[in-house]
Symmetry: C2
Subunit: 120 residues, 2 copies
């Protein structure tokens, strides 16, 4: 068992052609799986998770989020940028202030399912 070129490896493994066919039939495109991973990376940071939880309660401006989380405006703004790019939050401008809110019902479902998982 040496490399990934599949010539002389693992001759005794239990894989069958039917399973290979099944897997290759149902597996989404590589690019989609890559995008999916990119999305979950966004959830993979506790600062961003906290921002999302805060926004469950109310739309809020950058400065307020920073105060609530005890972090700098810059750090929060950078993270909101990621969340915005992933379409997890949306925003509206009101004068100098920008209000952020959740963009999507999936956010709650995903976080809830994650919570259920770690609660076990």
């Amino acid at each position: 068992m040496t490399d990934a070129n599949g010539v002389e490896r693992c001759e005794y493994c239990h894989i069958h052609q039917e399973i290979v066919n099944k897997v290759e039939g149902t597996m989404p495109e590589d690019e989609i799986l890559y995008d999916l991973a990119e999305l979950f990376k966004i959830f993979g940071d506790s600062t961003r998770i906290k921002i999302l939880y805060v926004l469950f309660e109310s739309e809020m401006c950058v400065c307020d989020i920073a105060k609530l989380l005890g972090m700098t405006q810059s750090a929060i703004s950078h993270q909101l940028r990621s969340l915005k790019q992933s379409k997890l939050v949306k925003y509206r401008r009101e004068g100098k202030t920008v209000f952020y809110s959740l963009a999507d019902g999936h956010v709650r479902t995903i976080l809830d399912q994650g919570m259920e998982h770690i609660a076990e």
Copy 2:
């Protein structure tokens, strides 16, 4: 607006005490939010996503997964370790071979919700 010590920042922000109370009442413990982020980090890599998708179809040994994904045994084994530690996969030994399978229904829900999100 300078630091995170909240003395002379953003006096004109629209935050209200009622919202602060509401947020602080519903926000889970820091440690839980940290664990939640750790869980989503696991989903935040396309190799691990692929492994999970492969396991939707059938339990499978390390070598077979490596072959299906065109990657080395070592790389897959390292990633299975992460998935195991997060209790996303389980395994059973059968002689020399170790078969991995999904541990949990949440995995499917989380991936499906993520898919729905990026499909929009």
